[in-house]
């Protein structure tokens, strides 16, 4: 019996797992536990039967992109497989359709590209020889919105500062696992972010509301100063969302002083049963991952993509 891997025919014995057949054929496939636990042997299924066990525990976007654990796939003539490499996703042409300021130094850029994206995921963007990653704050059909901070002297910022509707870019993606999971409509959601780290949180939040989320939703957004807290009016007006603006330098009486992480944990000391979404500087995200876990949120329910200055994803 044979199946296909990256276009090659792989010989398999009856009842053998795909992973064992690949390894016996000398394919360099990652693997660890061979028991559906460690997820090291992930492959992309183009077509063929996938038992539920081969997708158990996988993040939603990974499963949607055809991801499956090869140690839990039985070799089958109908299987056509590829390695699961995100960097192999194609670059697609994109066009800027709208640019507007959300705050003095943050712009929203809307881009049209033929990509299916979930709010909260991120895309890689190439323009004028530079490459950056940006989270998707909104997505409707082929229109996707980024929040971009204009950094004085920033290389990519120079491009964004003068970008006009009609400008051509290329995009790759989607990447990332920070998306709303409609399988848990009743659990409380805690969203913590700083600066344009709001973008994926805004995306997850609106997706949760659109999908009828019933559990409590709390958003803690931090910025260096009160003036940096964009989307303040929209978030305050949003029904069903507890919005807490935080700033290092408070000039607006509605804001709490200090870090959004500290404020969130003060209000929510026990995070048992919560889903937590994090986006911001690596320092904030790393501290928040650990502190939220120790406060009771489970590892698989803490979603984060570290966000490095200049919008470069780690």
């Amino acid at each position: 019996m044979t199946f296909h891997f990256e276009g090659r025919k792989i010989q398999a014995a009856q009842g053998e797992t795909v992973l064992d057949a690949l390894l016996r054929s000398g394919e360099p496939v990652g693997h660890g536990c061979k028991a559906g636990v460690c997820q090291a042997c992930l492959v992309r299924v183009q077509s063929g039967p996938v038992p539920p066990k081969a997708r158990q525990g996988l993040a939603l976007p990974v499963a949607e992109q055809g991801g499956a654990l090869s140690c839990c796939l039985k070799a089958d003539e109908a299987l056509d497989l590829q390695p699961f490499r995100e960097e192999d996703l194609p670059w697609v042409a994109a066009k800027v359709t709208r640019v507007r300021h959300l705050s003095p130094d943050v712009i929203e850029v809307k881009i049209e590209a033929d990509l299916a994206v979930r709010p909260g995921q991120f895309l890689r963007v190439k323009g004028e020889g530079m490459e950056r990653a940006y989270s998707v704050a909104e997505t409707t059909g082929s229109l996707h919105a980024f929040h971009i901070r204009l950094i004085p002297g920033g290389q990519m910022s120079a491009l964004w500062a003068q970008v006009q509707p009609g400008a051509a870019l290329t995009l790759q993606g989607p990447f990332g696992r920070s998306v709303y999971d409609p399988a848990h409509p009743d659990r409380p959601l805690l969203l913590i972010g700083s600066g344009t780290g709001l973008a994926p949180l805004w995306g997850v939040l609106n997706d949760a509301l659109a999908q009828g989320h019933r559990g409590a939703i709390s958003l803690y957004h931090g910025a260096a100063s009160s003036a940096g807290l964009y989307y303040r009016d929209e978030l305050e007006a949003m029904v069903g969302v507890h919005y807490v603006p935080c700033a290092d330098a408070v000039t607006d009486p509605r804001d709490r002083p200090g870090s959004p992480l500290a404020q969130a944990l003060q209000d929510h000391p026990d995070l048992t049963g919560y889903a937590v979404y994090l986006c911001g500087s690596p320092g904030l995200v790393n501290a928040a991952q650990r502190q939220c876990f120790l406060a009771g949120a489970d590892m698989q329910d803490i979603f984060s993509d570290p966000y490095v200055p200049q919008g470069v994803k780690a």
Binding site: C33, K34, A35, V37, R177, N286, F293, L294, M299
Partner: protein, 121 residues
């Protein structure tokens, strides 16, 4: 006679234990320095693979994997006292979950078989 893995509760037991166990480890000042800055998502998978193995379940670890995976920690001072603390946290986690003492002893015995590899001796 069912296997140790079946008696403990199989994959459901791994899922129930993994967060409790790792939360105990991170809260334990004797060992948590070795987990500074590690990625939570990758850690979840590693911890589940580890628990599956010590619960007597299917695994594919070799002594070589154990050595290479921990060598950088041995260089930072990982020793028997830290290994003991991890086994202690493992036992306390299982006790919390209501696992019988004789099964906990069997889990500890499997963990014990990895000691020399983990500590690179």
């Amino acid at each position: 006679m069912s296997t140790l893995f079946e008696q403990i509760g199989g994959e459901a037991a791994v899922d129930a234990a993994v967060n409790k166990f790792y939360r105990r480890v991170l809260a334990d000042d004797r060992v948590n320095e070795f987990f500074e800055g590690v990625d939570m998502e990758r850690q979840a998978a590693k911890q589940k693979a580890f628990l599956t193995m010590v619960f007597g379940g299917p695994h594919n670890y070799t002594g070589k994997d154990m050595r290479e995976g921990h060598r950088h920690l041995v260089q930072r001072g990982l020793n028997d006292s830290h290994f003991d603390a991890i086994v202690e946290n493992l036992g306390a986690t299982l006790k919390d979950l209501g696992v019988a003492d004789d099964l906990i002893a069997q889990v500890a015995a499997i963990a014990e078989t990895t000691r020399d590899d983990v500590l690179d001796r």
